[in-house]
């Protein structure tokens, strides 16, 4: 591992850490909850790259499969069930159904 390679690795680490922190900040600051969940999924994927970088392949696979691949859809499904009745019901064929309580 000559000096050149470690230099590249350090740059990669700094960029990856900056990206992770920016995603986490965006995730928690964004007003629209749907956007926050999409940020969360990207955050999970970037995390699995970080695990690969730290020679932890098992954790990278688990993070990609469970952390981003299933927790994200769990959040989306919960969001859909929460919003299903209150503001409007997005029917599959896209017609907006009038919701009484607004």
């Amino acid at each position: 591992m000559d000096a050149g390679l470690t230099y590249i690795y350090t740059c990669f680490d700094i960029v990856l850490s900056a990206a992770l922190l920016w995603l986490a900040w965006q995730l928690l600051r964004s007003t629209d909850i749907f956007k926050a969940i999409i940020f969360f999924i990207c955050f999970g994927l970037l995390m699995s790259i970080a695990w690969v970088r730290m020679h932890a392949p098992d954790v990278a696979l688990a993070e990609a499969a469970i952390g981003a691949g299933l927790t994200g859809p769990l959040f989306l499904a919960a969001l859909r069930r929460m919003e299903l009745g209150s503001r409007k019901e997005r029917r599959i064929d896209g017609k907006e159904e009038r919701s009484e309580d607004e």
């Binding site: 098992d58 688990a62 299933l70 859809p73 503001r87």
Partner: protein, 252 residues
């Protein structure tokens, strides 16, 4: 569209009002906490200790080549037993709170989705099975393979095949409890034959662990799908005679 902007406006207004209040004290508190933590991390003695020497030493006796799986299933198998029980506990809690939402009255699933599901499901089972099998000597294992299997089951749930939500809960419960049951049986078997909980004889440990990993993979796959379904399968509703469960306060 007007209603959507309204919601966004008061949301932003609300965040602005909250920002000025207790937030500044909390911000200072967290910055102080961050400084403290970073100072502590810097002062931790540099040659970070690690257990890699011990793991390498006993890896041969653990029956698997992948050190992470060896630590997970053999050296610290008791941890994983409790943790798979936490997973099953999560599914029990989700089932005890509510029943799965009734399938949306969709005309018919689009043909593209139906054929995609028919093609993907066998592929998902193949990849999931391979990941579980590969755990013994390479990256992979029960959790990763189970997650892929659950993706296949979730695909079935989304594509609204009529029989999926109507399934009676017993086969699902058996599938979910396979992993923990195998763990408990192996634990007791270890006590009977080798004299200590979860102790596996080194020569046929690989067979036990493979059997165990397959069971855990299946149960994790079904449990993750139960999380996604979000409630008891509707097959259970037949058992409970329906009565409008009005909420009359002085519940016991």
């Amino acid at each position: 569209m007007v209603r959507r902007n309204e919601a966004k406006m008061n949301n932003r207004h609300q965040t602005k009002k909250r920002l000025s209040g207790l937030l500044w004290t909390l911000l200072l508190l967290t910055i102080f906490l961050a400084g403290l933590l970073i100072w502590t991390v810097l002062n931790i003695p540099r040659p970070l200790p690690s257990l890699s020497r011990e793991t390498a030493e006993y890896l041969a006796m653990s029956g698997v080549n992948n050190p992470v799986t060896a630590v997970l299933l053999n050296f610290r198998g008791y941890d994983t037993m409790l943790e798979v029980m936490v997973f099953l506990l999560g599914a029990m809690t989700v089932w005890s709170i509510t029943h799965a939402p009734f399938p949306a009255r969709v005309a018919n699933p689009s043909p593209v989705q139906a054929t995609a599901v028919r093609l993907l499901t066998p592929l998902v089972c193949l990849i999931g099975g391979y990941l579980i099998w590969q755990g013994a000597y390479q990256t992979g294992g029960a959790f990763q393979g189970g997650a892929v299997l659950s993706a296949g089951v979730v695909l079935l749930l989304i594509s609204d095949f009529i029989w999926v939500p109507r399934m009676h809960s017993l086969p699902l419960r058996l599938g979910m409890a396979v992993g923990p049951l195998l763990f408990v049986i192996l634990a007791i078997w270890g006590v009977i034959t080798e004299g200590s909980l979860l102790k596996l004889s080194p020569e046929n440990a690989w067979a036990y662990l493979l059997f165990l990993e397959a069971g855990c993979g299946i149960s994790i796959g079904l449990t993750l799908a139960a999380f996604f379904a979000g409630g008891r399968p509707l097959g259970d509703l037949r058992e409970e005679p329906y009565k409008a469960d009005q909420d009359d306060g002085e519940e016991g």
